[in-house]
Amino acid sequence: MISKRIIPCLDVRDGKLTKGIKFQGNVDIGDPVEAAREYYEQGADEIVFYDITASSENRDIMIDVVRRVAETIFIPFSVGGGIRCLEDMRKVIGAGAEKVSVNSAAVREPDIISQGVKAFGSQCIVLGMDVKKVEVCGQTPSGYEIVIEGGRKYTGMDALAWAKEAERRGAGEICLNSIDADGMQNGYEIELTSLISDNVSIPVIASGGAGHPEHLADVLTRGRADAALVASMVHYRIYTISQIKHYLFGCSIRTRMFW
Protein backbone atom coordinates (compact mmCIF):
# COMPACT_ATOMS: atom_id res chain seq x y z
CA MET A 1 0.00 0.00 0.00
CA ILE A 2 0.96 3.57 -0.63
CA SER A 3 2.58 5.59 2.17
CA LYS A 4 1.27 8.84 3.61
CA ARG A 5 3.52 11.74 2.58
CA ILE A 6 5.14 14.36 4.81
CA ILE A 7 5.85 17.52 2.86
CA PRO A 8 7.74 20.58 4.11
CA CYS A 9 6.56 23.83 2.60
CA LEU A 10 9.10 26.56 1.80
CA ASP A 11 8.19 30.16 1.06
CA VAL A 12 10.65 31.84 -1.28
CA ARG A 13 10.91 35.54 -2.02
CA ASP A 14 13.42 36.93 -4.51
CA GLY A 15 15.30 33.63 -4.38
CA LYS A 16 15.62 33.59 -0.56
CA LEU A 17 13.75 31.67 2.07
CA THR A 18 11.44 33.78 4.15
CA LYS A 19 10.16 32.79 7.60
CA GLY A 20 13.71 32.91 8.94
CA ILE A 21 14.53 29.23 9.02
CA LYS A 22 17.10 28.50 11.68
CA PHE A 23 19.59 26.46 9.73
CA GLN A 24 23.04 26.15 11.16
CA GLY A 25 25.32 28.93 10.03
CA ASN A 26 22.41 30.91 8.72
CA VAL A 27 20.56 33.69 10.40
CA ASP A 28 17.11 34.74 9.39
CA ILE A 29 17.24 34.36 5.67
CA GLY A 30 18.25 31.01 4.27
CA ASP A 31 19.01 29.45 0.94
CA PRO A 32 16.03 27.44 -0.38
CA VAL A 33 18.34 24.94 -2.09
CA GLU A 34 20.17 24.18 1.18
CA ALA A 35 16.88 23.91 3.05
CA ALA A 36 15.55 21.50 0.42
CA ARG A 37 18.69 19.40 0.74
CA GLU A 38 18.37 19.27 4.51
CA TYR A 39 14.72 18.15 4.39
CA TYR A 40 15.54 15.62 1.67
CA GLU A 41 18.18 14.14 3.94
CA GLN A 42 15.75 14.10 6.89
CA GLY A 43 13.32 11.96 4.87
CA ALA A 44 10.87 14.45 3.35
CA ASP A 45 8.74 12.65 0.75
CA GLU A 46 8.20 15.69 -1.41
CA ILE A 47 8.81 19.43 -1.10
CA VAL A 48 6.50 22.33 -1.87
CA PHE A 49 7.86 25.76 -2.82
CA TYR A 50 5.75 28.90 -2.85
CA ASP A 51 7.18 31.80 -4.74
CA ILE A 52 5.94 34.93 -3.00
CA THR A 53 8.12 37.27 -5.06
CA ALA A 54 6.14 40.45 -5.60
CA SER A 55 7.73 41.88 -8.73
CA SER A 56 7.45 40.02 -11.99
CA GLU A 57 11.01 40.90 -13.09
CA ASN A 58 12.37 38.87 -10.17
CA ARG A 59 10.39 35.75 -11.12
CA ASP A 60 13.20 34.28 -13.18
CA ILE A 61 15.26 34.04 -9.97
CA MET A 62 12.78 31.36 -8.89
CA ILE A 63 13.39 29.40 -12.09
CA ASP A 64 17.07 29.36 -11.22
CA VAL A 65 16.22 28.12 -7.70
CA VAL A 66 14.07 25.36 -9.20
CA ARG A 67 16.91 24.31 -11.49
CA ARG A 68 19.38 24.12 -8.59
CA VAL A 69 16.92 22.22 -6.39
CA ALA A 70 16.40 19.68 -9.18
CA GLU A 71 20.16 19.09 -9.33
CA THR A 72 20.34 18.58 -5.57
CA ILE A 73 17.38 16.46 -4.44
CA PHE A 74 15.98 13.34 -6.08
CA ILE A 75 12.40 13.31 -4.85
CA PRO A 76 9.39 15.04 -6.41
CA PHE A 77 8.77 18.71 -5.67
CA SER A 78 6.15 21.23 -6.66
CA VAL A 79 6.20 24.96 -7.22
CA GLY A 80 3.33 27.37 -6.71
CA GLY A 81 2.81 31.10 -6.48
CA GLY A 82 2.57 33.36 -9.48
CA ILE A 83 1.66 30.57 -11.92
CA ARG A 84 -0.73 32.34 -14.26
CA CYS A 85 -0.50 30.66 -17.65
CA LEU A 86 0.80 27.61 -19.53
CA GLU A 87 4.08 29.37 -20.20
CA ASP A 88 4.67 29.84 -16.45
CA MET A 89 3.99 26.11 -15.96
CA ARG A 90 6.30 25.14 -18.80
CA LYS A 91 9.17 27.16 -17.31
CA VAL A 92 8.83 25.59 -13.87
CA ILE A 93 8.42 22.01 -15.15
CA GLY A 94 11.22 22.52 -17.67
CA ALA A 95 13.51 23.61 -14.83
CA GLY A 96 12.85 20.31 -13.04
CA ALA A 97 9.73 20.59 -10.87
CA GLU A 98 7.52 17.50 -10.89
CA LYS A 99 4.32 19.48 -10.30
CA VAL A 100 2.97 23.02 -10.42
CA SER A 101 0.27 24.36 -8.20
CA VAL A 102 -2.27 26.96 -9.23
CA ASN A 103 -4.40 28.92 -6.79
CA SER A 104 -5.70 32.45 -7.46
CA ALA A 105 -5.17 32.15 -11.21
CA ALA A 106 -7.43 29.09 -11.30
CA VAL A 107 -10.14 30.96 -9.36
CA ARG A 108 -10.03 33.79 -11.90
CA GLU A 109 -9.69 31.50 -14.91
CA PRO A 110 -10.57 27.84 -14.15
CA ASP A 111 -9.57 26.86 -17.69
CA ILE A 112 -5.92 27.03 -16.65
CA ILE A 113 -6.45 23.72 -14.84
CA SER A 114 -7.77 21.95 -17.94
CA GLN A 115 -5.06 23.49 -20.13
CA GLY A 116 -2.32 22.41 -17.74
CA VAL A 117 -3.72 18.89 -17.57
CA LYS A 118 -3.84 18.65 -21.36
CA ALA A 119 -0.29 19.90 -21.76
CA PHE A 120 1.47 18.09 -18.90
CA GLY A 121 -0.90 15.43 -17.52
CA SER A 122 -3.03 15.35 -14.37
CA GLN A 123 -0.16 14.23 -12.16
CA CYS A 124 1.57 17.58 -12.78
CA ILE A 125 -1.31 19.86 -11.81
CA VAL A 126 -2.08 20.61 -8.17
CA LEU A 127 -4.95 22.88 -7.19
CA GLY A 128 -4.04 25.04 -4.20
CA MET A 129 -7.11 26.15 -2.21
CA ASP A 130 -7.09 28.76 0.56
CA VAL A 131 -10.21 28.29 2.65
CA LYS A 132 -11.99 30.16 5.47
CA LYS A 133 -14.84 28.95 7.62
CA VAL A 134 -18.01 30.97 7.00
CA GLU A 135 -21.71 30.68 7.79
CA VAL A 136 -23.59 28.02 5.91
CA CYS A 137 -25.72 29.83 3.32
CA GLY A 138 -27.05 29.38 -0.19
CA GLN A 139 -23.78 30.50 -1.75
CA THR A 140 -21.53 28.48 0.57
CA PRO A 141 -23.53 25.37 1.55
CA SER A 142 -20.42 23.59 2.88
CA GLY A 143 -19.72 26.42 5.33
CA TYR A 144 -16.29 26.98 3.78
CA GLU A 145 -15.39 29.70 1.31
CA ILE A 146 -12.49 30.09 -1.10
CA VAL A 147 -10.36 33.16 -0.41
CA ILE A 148 -7.52 34.58 -2.51
CA GLU A 149 -4.77 37.15 -2.14
CA GLY A 150 -3.42 35.61 1.02
CA GLY A 151 -6.85 35.38 2.65
CA ARG A 152 -7.75 39.03 2.13
CA LYS A 153 -10.30 38.60 -0.62
CA TYR A 154 -13.46 36.49 -0.35
CA THR A 155 -14.56 35.01 -3.67
CA GLY A 156 -18.08 33.87 -2.84
CA MET A 157 -17.13 30.36 -4.02
CA ASP A 158 -18.00 27.31 -1.97
CA ALA A 159 -14.88 25.29 -1.11
CA LEU A 160 -16.43 21.86 -1.66
CA ALA A 161 -17.98 22.83 -5.00
CA TRP A 162 -14.63 24.25 -6.14
CA ALA A 163 -12.75 21.09 -5.12
CA LYS A 164 -15.19 18.99 -7.14
CA GLU A 165 -14.89 21.27 -10.15
CA ALA A 166 -11.08 21.10 -10.01
CA GLU A 167 -11.31 17.30 -9.96
CA ARG A 168 -13.71 17.36 -12.93
CA ARG A 169 -11.22 19.54 -14.79
CA GLY A 170 -8.51 16.95 -14.21
CA ALA A 171 -6.42 18.36 -11.34
CA GLY A 172 -4.24 15.54 -10.01
CA GLU A 173 -4.20 16.65 -6.41
CA ILE A 174 -5.60 19.27 -4.03
CA CYS A 175 -3.49 21.17 -1.54
CA LEU A 176 -6.02 22.33 1.01
CA ASN A 177 -4.93 25.22 3.19
CA SER A 178 -7.01 26.43 6.09
CA ILE A 179 -6.43 30.17 6.53
CA ASP A 180 -7.98 29.98 10.01
CA ALA A 181 -5.52 27.32 11.18
CA ASP A 182 -2.48 28.59 9.27
CA GLY A 183 0.44 29.63 11.48
CA MET A 184 -1.45 28.87 14.72
CA GLN A 185 0.26 25.50 15.33
CA ASN A 186 -2.91 24.27 17.03
CA GLY A 187 -3.62 21.47 14.59
CA TYR A 188 -5.09 21.12 11.12
CA GLU A 189 -8.73 21.88 10.29
CA ILE A 190 -9.89 18.28 10.55
CA GLU A 191 -13.54 18.88 9.70
CA LEU A 192 -12.64 20.73 6.48
CA THR A 193 -10.02 18.14 5.47
CA SER A 194 -12.33 15.15 5.92
CA LEU A 195 -15.15 16.95 4.12
CA ILE A 196 -13.01 17.50 1.01
CA SER A 197 -11.24 14.10 1.19
CA ASP A 198 -14.53 12.23 1.40
CA ASN A 199 -15.98 14.01 -1.59
CA VAL A 200 -13.19 13.88 -4.18
CA SER A 201 -11.23 10.88 -5.38
CA ILE A 202 -7.93 12.69 -5.97
CA PRO A 203 -5.32 12.93 -3.19
CA VAL A 204 -5.72 15.73 -0.64
CA ILE A 205 -2.72 17.37 1.02
CA ALA A 206 -3.69 18.98 4.33
CA SER A 207 -2.09 22.33 5.08
CA GLY A 208 -2.17 24.87 7.89
CA GLY A 209 -1.93 24.40 11.63
CA ALA A 210 0.73 21.74 12.20
CA GLY A 211 2.63 22.29 15.46
CA HIS A 212 3.02 18.81 16.91
CA PRO A 213 3.41 15.34 15.32
CA GLU A 214 0.07 14.45 16.94
CA HIS A 215 -1.58 16.96 14.61
CA LEU A 216 -0.26 15.05 11.60
CA ALA A 217 -1.47 11.74 13.01
CA ASP A 218 -4.90 13.30 13.46
CA VAL A 219 -5.23 14.75 9.95
CA LEU A 220 -3.89 11.58 8.29
CA THR A 221 -6.45 9.41 10.12
CA ARG A 222 -9.57 11.37 11.14
CA GLY A 223 -8.99 14.00 8.45
CA ARG A 224 -8.39 11.23 5.86
CA ALA A 225 -5.67 13.30 4.17
CA ASP A 226 -3.17 11.56 1.87
CA ALA A 227 -0.34 13.89 2.80
CA ALA A 228 0.42 16.59 5.34
CA LEU A 229 2.24 19.86 4.83
CA VAL A 230 4.53 21.13 7.59
CA ALA A 231 6.21 24.53 7.94
CA SER A 232 6.96 26.30 11.24
CA MET A 233 7.40 23.13 13.30
CA VAL A 234 10.30 22.02 11.10
CA HIS A 235 11.59 25.44 10.04
CA TYR A 236 12.09 26.47 13.67
CA ARG A 237 13.82 23.15 14.30
CA ILE A 238 11.29 22.08 16.90
CA TYR A 239 11.01 18.74 15.10
CA THR A 240 12.84 17.07 12.25
CA ILE A 241 10.97 15.26 9.49
CA SER A 242 12.54 12.08 10.79
CA GLN A 243 11.16 12.65 14.33
CA ILE A 244 7.69 13.26 12.90
CA LYS A 245 7.89 10.04 10.90
CA HIS A 246 9.01 8.03 13.89
CA TYR A 247 6.10 9.42 15.89
CA LEU A 248 3.67 8.43 13.11
CA PHE A 249 5.27 4.99 12.92
CA GLY A 250 4.46 4.61 16.63
CA CYS A 251 0.83 5.44 15.80
CA SER A 252 0.79 2.71 13.10
CA ILE A 253 0.59 5.29 10.32
CA ARG A 254 2.65 4.17 7.40
CA THR A 255 5.15 6.62 5.94
CA ARG A 256 8.38 5.98 4.03
CA MET A 257 10.93 5.03 6.72
CA PHE A 258 14.01 4.19 4.61
CA TRP A 259 15.69 7.00 2.74
Binding site: M1, I2, S3, R5, Y40, D45, A70, E71, F74, I75, P76, I93, G94, G96, E98, G121, S122, Q123, G172, E173, S201, I202, P203, D226, R256, M257, F258, W259
Partner: protein
Protein backbone atom coordinates in the same frame (compact mmCIF):
# COMPACT_ATOMS: atom_id res chain seq x y z
CA UNK B 1 29.24 5.58 -22.87
CA UNK B 2 25.70 5.42 -21.49
CA UNK B 3 22.96 6.53 -23.87
CA UNK B 4 19.52 7.80 -22.89
CA UNK B 5 16.98 7.28 -25.66
CA UNK B 6 15.38 10.58 -26.68
CA UNK B 7 11.96 10.02 -28.20
CA UNK B 8 10.00 13.11 -27.10
CA UNK B 9 8.27 11.14 -24.36
CA UNK B 10 8.11 13.28 -21.30
CA UNK B 11 10.61 14.48 -18.81
CA UNK B 12 13.91 12.68 -19.40
CA UNK B 13 15.69 15.66 -17.80
CA UNK B 14 15.26 14.15 -14.35
CA UNK B 15 17.12 11.01 -15.46
CA UNK B 16 19.88 13.19 -16.89
CA UNK B 17 20.20 15.13 -13.64
CA UNK B 18 20.44 11.94 -11.59
CA UNK B 19 23.19 10.51 -13.86
CA UNK B 20 25.00 13.83 -13.71
CA UNK B 21 24.81 13.75 -9.90
CA UNK B 22 26.26 10.23 -9.95
CA UNK B 23 29.15 11.49 -12.05
CA UNK B 24 28.28 9.28 -15.03
CA UNK B 25 29.06 10.34 -18.57
CA UNK B 26 26.11 9.99 -20.91
CA UNK B 27 24.51 11.15 -24.13
CA UNK B 28 20.86 11.84 -24.85
CA UNK B 29 20.18 10.75 -28.39
CA UNK B 30 17.72 9.50 -30.99
CA UNK B 31 20.55 8.50 -33.32
CA UNK B 32 20.49 4.73 -33.89
CA UNK B 33 24.25 4.65 -34.61
CA UNK B 34 25.06 6.25 -31.26
CA UNK B 35 22.72 3.84 -29.51
CA UNK B 36 24.34 0.88 -31.23
CA UNK B 37 27.74 2.12 -30.07
CA UNK B 38 26.67 2.83 -26.49
CA UNK B 39 27.79 0.59 -23.63
CA UNK B 40 24.46 0.92 -21.76
CA UNK B 41 21.03 2.11 -22.85
CA UNK B 42 18.42 3.80 -20.65
CA UNK B 43 14.88 3.80 -21.98
CA UNK B 44 12.80 6.29 -19.93
CA UNK B 45 9.42 7.80 -20.68
CA UNK B 46 6.33 9.48 -19.35
CA UNK B 47 3.14 9.78 -21.35
CA UNK B 48 0.90 7.58 -23.46
CA UNK B 49 1.92 4.30 -25.13
CA UNK B 50 0.30 5.15 -28.47
CA UNK B 51 2.18 8.40 -29.04
CA UNK B 52 5.42 6.89 -27.75
CA UNK B 53 5.25 3.90 -30.12
CA UNK B 54 4.42 6.14 -33.09
CA UNK B 55 7.44 8.30 -32.34
CA UNK B 56 9.77 5.31 -31.84
CA UNK B 57 8.67 3.78 -35.15
CA UNK B 58 9.07 7.06 -37.02
CA UNK B 59 12.66 7.22 -35.81
CA UNK B 60 13.26 3.44 -36.27
CA UNK B 61 14.09 3.33 -32.59
CA UNK B 62 11.85 0.30 -31.94
CA UNK B 63 14.12 -1.82 -34.17
CA UNK B 64 17.18 -0.24 -32.62
CA UNK B 65 16.07 -1.18 -29.07
CA UNK B 66 15.52 -4.76 -30.26
CA UNK B 67 18.99 -4.89 -31.76
CA UNK B 68 20.55 -3.47 -28.57
CA UNK B 69 18.78 -6.20 -26.61
CA UNK B 70 19.89 -8.97 -28.98
CA UNK B 71 23.52 -7.85 -28.88
CA UNK B 72 23.59 -8.16 -25.09
CA UNK B 73 23.82 -4.47 -24.18
CA UNK B 74 22.55 -3.68 -20.66
CA UNK B 75 19.17 -1.93 -21.01
CA UNK B 76 17.18 -0.18 -18.26
CA UNK B 77 13.49 0.56 -18.85
CA UNK B 78 11.77 3.18 -16.68
CA UNK B 79 7.99 3.69 -16.35
CA UNK B 80 6.57 4.05 -19.88
CA UNK B 81 9.85 2.67 -21.23
CA UNK B 82 9.12 -0.48 -19.21
CA UNK B 83 5.51 -0.75 -20.34
CA UNK B 84 6.31 -0.63 -24.04
CA UNK B 85 8.96 -3.35 -24.04
CA UNK B 86 6.13 -5.86 -23.68
CA UNK B 87 4.17 -7.19 -26.67
CA UNK B 88 1.29 -4.74 -26.40
CA UNK B 89 -0.38 -2.15 -24.19
CA UNK B 90 -4.03 -1.73 -23.28
CA UNK B 91 -3.35 1.99 -23.36
CA UNK B 92 -4.37 3.13 -26.87
CA UNK B 93 -4.58 -0.64 -27.70
CA UNK B 94 -1.18 -0.49 -29.34
CA UNK B 95 1.39 -3.11 -30.37
CA UNK B 96 4.68 -2.52 -28.59
CA UNK B 97 8.33 -3.54 -28.97
CA UNK B 98 7.93 -7.08 -27.67
CA UNK B 99 11.23 -7.86 -25.94
CA UNK B 100 9.26 -9.50 -23.14
CA UNK B 101 6.14 -11.62 -23.63
CA UNK B 102 3.04 -10.12 -22.04
CA UNK B 103 0.89 -7.02 -22.05
CA UNK B 104 0.62 -3.73 -20.19
CA UNK B 105 -2.71 -3.54 -18.39
CA UNK B 106 -4.79 -0.78 -16.82
CA UNK B 107 -5.51 -0.90 -13.08
CA UNK B 108 -9.06 -2.15 -12.48
CA UNK B 109 -11.55 0.76 -12.14
CA UNK B 110 -12.73 0.06 -8.62
CA UNK B 111 -9.84 -0.93 -6.42
CA UNK B 112 -10.23 -0.87 -2.68
CA UNK B 113 -8.45 -1.98 0.45
CA UNK B 114 -10.39 -2.48 3.71
CA UNK B 115 -13.34 -0.63 2.21
CA UNK B 116 -11.24 2.42 1.26
CA UNK B 117 -11.38 3.21 -2.47
CA UNK B 118 -7.93 3.44 -4.05
CA UNK B 119 -7.07 6.32 -6.30
CA UNK B 120 -5.83 5.94 -9.88
CA UNK B 121 -3.17 6.91 -10.91
CA UNK B 122 -1.17 5.02 -8.33
CA UNK B 123 0.88 8.03 -7.26
CA UNK B 124 3.31 8.17 -4.37
CA UNK B 125 5.77 6.03 -2.43
CA UNK B 126 5.38 2.27 -2.27
CA UNK B 127 7.53 -0.75 -1.52
CA UNK B 128 8.83 -3.36 -3.96
CA UNK B 129 9.05 -6.92 -2.77
CA UNK B 130 12.06 -8.38 -4.58
CA UNK B 131 11.69 -12.00 -5.69
CA UNK B 132 15.30 -12.82 -6.38
CA UNK B 133 18.72 -11.23 -6.28
CA UNK B 134 19.89 -9.15 -9.19
CA UNK B 135 23.04 -7.01 -9.58
CA UNK B 136 20.96 -3.91 -10.40
CA UNK B 137 19.14 -4.19 -7.06
CA UNK B 138 22.20 -4.99 -4.98
CA UNK B 139 22.30 -3.18 -1.63
CA UNK B 140 18.64 -2.14 -1.62
CA UNK B 141 16.93 -2.60 1.77
CA UNK B 142 13.80 -4.73 1.58
CA UNK B 143 11.68 -1.94 3.11
CA UNK B 144 12.96 0.74 0.71
CA UNK B 145 10.23 2.67 -1.07
CA UNK B 146 10.09 4.02 -4.59
CA UNK B 147 8.15 6.80 -6.29
CA UNK B 148 5.36 5.66 -8.62
CA UNK B 149 3.08 7.61 -10.97
CA UNK B 150 1.07 5.39 -13.32
CA UNK B 151 -2.34 4.05 -14.33
CA UNK B 152 -1.00 1.03 -16.27
CA UNK B 153 1.34 -1.75 -15.19
CA UNK B 154 3.39 -4.45 -16.94
CA UNK B 155 1.96 -7.95 -16.83
CA UNK B 156 4.56 -10.37 -18.25
CA UNK B 157 3.25 -13.81 -19.20
CA UNK B 158 6.35 -15.60 -17.93
CA UNK B 159 6.46 -15.43 -14.11
CA UNK B 160 10.21 -16.04 -14.06
CA UNK B 161 10.96 -12.56 -15.47
CA UNK B 162 9.29 -10.91 -12.45
CA UNK B 163 12.02 -9.46 -10.22
CA UNK B 164 9.77 -7.50 -7.87
CA UNK B 165 6.11 -6.87 -7.10
CA UNK B 166 4.15 -4.06 -5.49
CA UNK B 167 0.75 -4.09 -3.78
CA UNK B 168 -1.87 -1.52 -4.68
CA UNK B 169 -5.27 -3.16 -4.46
CA UNK B 170 -3.76 -5.86 -6.67
CA UNK B 171 -0.23 -7.26 -6.68
CA UNK B 172 1.52 -6.17 -9.86
CA UNK B 173 4.97 -6.59 -11.39
CA UNK B 174 6.98 -3.43 -10.59
CA UNK B 175 10.41 -4.72 -11.64
CA UNK B 176 11.27 -7.28 -14.30
CA UNK B 177 14.42 -8.70 -15.80
CA UNK B 178 15.29 -10.82 -18.80
CA UNK B 179 18.92 -11.47 -19.71
CA UNK B 180 20.58 -8.07 -20.23
CA UNK B 181 17.33 -6.15 -19.70
CA UNK B 182 16.02 -4.72 -16.42
CA UNK B 183 12.86 -2.65 -16.32
CA UNK B 184 11.07 -0.87 -13.47
CA UNK B 185 7.65 0.72 -13.23
CA UNK B 186 8.72 3.29 -10.62
CA UNK B 187 11.00 6.29 -11.09
CA UNK B 188 14.46 5.56 -9.66
CA UNK B 189 15.50 9.11 -10.56
CA UNK B 190 12.84 10.47 -8.16
CA UNK B 191 13.18 7.84 -5.43
CA UNK B 192 15.93 9.31 -3.30
CA UNK B 193 18.96 7.31 -2.26
CA UNK B 194 17.66 3.79 -3.07
CA UNK B 195 16.67 4.98 -6.55
CA UNK B 196 20.08 6.52 -7.16
CA UNK B 197 21.66 3.26 -6.01
CA UNK B 198 19.72 1.38 -8.69
CA UNK B 199 20.89 3.80 -11.38
CA UNK B 200 24.46 3.53 -10.11
CA UNK B 201 24.25 -0.27 -10.08
CA UNK B 202 22.91 -0.28 -13.62
CA UNK B 203 25.73 1.93 -14.90
CA UNK B 204 28.31 -0.59 -13.70
CA UNK B 205 26.36 -3.74 -14.67
CA UNK B 206 27.81 -5.94 -17.39
CA UNK B 207 24.43 -7.28 -18.42
CA UNK B 208 25.29 -10.80 -17.35
Amino acid sequence: MIAIIDYDAGNIKSVERALHYLGQEFVVTDDTKMLNNASHVIFPGVGAAGTAMACLKRKSLDQCVKLCFQTGKPILGICLGTQIILDASEENAVDCIGLVRGVTKRFPRHLSVNGMALKIPHMGWNTVSFKREHPVFAGIESQAEFYFVHSYYPSPSDETVVLGTTDYGITFCSALGLKNLVAVQFHPEKSGRPGLRILQNFCTWSGA
